[in-house]
Homo-oligomer: 412 residues x 2
């Protein structure tokens, strides 16, 4: 069961002027589920994207990058997004690229757009050919129900092993104008820094310059999707897209605007909520853990320690068992690869409880204190490396029987 996470109410996902969403049940892999999503963007919208660093990146990722690049020089602009679940179209070589192109061609024809004005996304099983005919056959139905109010349906249409749909909205004022930000995401396994099998779409009606939007996406992804991990695997298909439709009537936000930070932080806030939702719905998750490292010489070493803890199957199973087996955390700190770490200087906290110092268990620590913290659904693990001022926070979940079950059964 997801950890303190329920699907949003449809009414809580606010429409973003200029964005319409339509879905279809296209039987890509299984019947009776929404598995194709079409999003259209009004003319003049700006789009920015960040994608997986996996070198085996999927065909749609290659096309997305190419189309985004083209849109910057040809002035036509991205006007639609096409997402399918059930098949990742990854590890599919030249044939996979052709199939992804076919779906863009087909949607372009139906919407009267060039194929390179469309960004394609796929998620699901790797190494299997995309049934492009099925995706294409679903497009008419998806276009027929295009609506600004379809965000919850859209969030549902991109789910794979997700248990609940993920989405959230914010409204802010920019120069006296009401601006809406709405985002959705999917992903629950193969979640790792530098993205994951995760898709995220965040839209605003604000007017933003292309350069400011690029700057915001880099900032937001580093504070959100690059700070989560479920199982340490980095997927072939991860993509985060920011869209701005330019209909809110605000003065265009540039990096020099007084409004820039306001918009950046609000979009980042949405990205963090969407990223955390992925961890809360991590495959088999029963606990949500925040791993906070402080007192590092630089952020890089803080991240090493944070991920050594957040990736350790031994630690994650201990959290599943609510067992304050904190020695496993010390061991992870010790093998994280921090140069000349003074293990006698660092401090380990579980929640507010000081657990370890002077290279061993804190004198005042009682196991009941640790057990009490471990029984909570949300747990803070905090390490003070005591050698500098850098910090880093990552979010992860525990490792349960159900993680194994879900991933052993995923294709069946």
């Amino acid at each position: 069961m997801p950890v303190k996470l329920t699907a949003p109410e449809s009414s809580s996902l606010l429409p973003v002027r200029g964005i319409q969403l339509g879905f279809a049940e296209a039987h890509v892999r299984k019947p009776n589920r929404k598995d194709v999503l079409v999003m259209t963007l009004v003319e003049g919208s700006k789009v920015a994207g960040v994608f997986t660093l996996n070198q085996f990146c999927a065909a749609p990722v290659l096309l997305c990058k190419d189309h985004l690049e083209q849109s910057k020089s040809n002035q036509q602009g991205i006007r639609a997004l096409l997402v399918n679940t059930g098949c990742a179209n990854a590890g599919t070589g030249e044939d996979g690229l052709n199939r992804a192109k076919q779906t863009c061609d087909a949607l372009g024809e139906l919407l009267n757009l060039q194929a390179n004005q469309i960004l394609p996304f796929s998620t699901g099983v790797i190494l299997e050919p995309l049934p492009a005919d099925k995706v294409i056959a679903g497009l008419t139905a998806a276009i027929k129900n295009l609506k600004e109010s379809n965000w919850l349906n859209a969030a549902e249409a991109i789910m794979t092993t997700d248990i609940v749909a993920k989405g959230t909205s914010r409204q802010i004022q920019l120069g006296g104008k009401l601006v809406t930000i709405t985002g959705i995401s999917k992903g629950s396994g193969m979640i790792h820094p530098n993205m994951a099998t995760m898709l995220g779409y965040i839209a605003t009606d604000a007017s933003v310059s292309q350069s400011a939007l690029e700057s915001i996406i880099k900032y937001a992804v580093n504070k959100s999707f690059n700070c989560i991990t479920v199982d340490g695997d980095t997927s072939t298909n991860d993509s985060l897209i920011l869209m701005a439709t330019n209909l809110a009537g605000n003065m265009e936000v540039t990096e020099a605007s007084a409004d820039f930070i306001t918009l950046r932080d609000a979009m980042t806030d949405v990205a963090i909520e969407l990223a955390q939702a992925i961890v809360r719905d991590g495959e088999g998750a029963t606990k949500f853990m925040t791993v906070k490292i402080e007192g590092g010489r630089d952020e890089a070493e803080c991240r090493k320690v944070a991920y050594a803890i957040a990736h350790s199957p031994l630690i994650k199973t201990a959290f599943f068992a609510s067992d304050p087996n904190l020695g496993r955390i010390l061991a992870a700190i010790g093998y994280a690869g921090v140069d000349s770490l003074d293990v006698s200087a660092l401090k380990l906290y579980l929640g507010d409880v000081l657990v370890a110092e002077n290279g061993g268990r804190a004198l005042a620590y009682q196991e009941e204190q640790g057990s009490a913290v471990m029984k909570e659904a949300e747990i803070l693990v905090r390490v003070d490396l005591a050698r500098g001022n850098a910090t880093c926070t990552v979010w992860t979940c525990d490792f349960s029987y159900d993680y194994v079950k879900i991933n052993a059964d995923y294709r069946s």
Copy 2:
């Protein structure tokens, strides 16, 4: 159940002249189990050790390193080893060091040795104080049953979550003299390159120079214990010890001897069998996987790819399910961090079956072929990176419900 691994017959573990082994049930953590082992070495024996790189290394590891170093200058030589299970004496600071010293003092008194002629080892739960009094109380019984023929009892005395005892012997001829090599090991979780929660002891009656023994241990560990992984965690206590008692009557083996390679390879062979046994008995293991990377530019990049595959919980759960979800392997290759990898040039094999080439599924591949290979208890995953001549092999196991169960329950 361990994968194609049963405990050795007592008679198959050959005595090594000059080494005696004695054990006790000392109730370190639980009653009714052998949990203390004493090994004595005849005067004139040579000893070499390699230890965990974890910076939170345990108190006994610190002492072992110190005593080994002292033995090189003080001419007294290491004369006994003391192992306890049930408590790792790690993350225990200054107090832990004192308790480990107390056990060495006590054994030294009983055996009429200096404390620094004894190497202490602990394995078990981290961050708890070593009950040194219990260990010490067990020493008399252990010394009472010291015997050259106690290797199987010794293998049993060092088990923690191991299901079966691990040991093997070889005999070779060195200059016309019969030489015996016998080794035991323990460890089944937290197994990772650069050792693991694993202890290994390999003894020979050959005469070997200290420098040749040091050279052999470095070679052997890189071909064996540094090539295995169960869950990616590197423990605080890993130790591998090589001992040579100098009683076989052969001419002393030095690095320049014609015999050197013969002895080195035989000891390495024992180390490989002991290391593989740890993986075969990996916590919850149902499959034994060999991951072989070929065609790399250097061994380092081959290791990156091998460990990306061998550590992935997604891949390990798919192997548990006998599901040829090979896309997950391609994804791991893609995120392994190999510079400018040409994904269209590499080839992926499952057993003898070519699964992927040209960036996607091989044309001739049929899923039934993959399924047939996946049903075996031992599986070879082979990747040809097609960019050089370097190779690397690692061994790992799958990831099952029982892994979670064992590690969620370990302390209870």
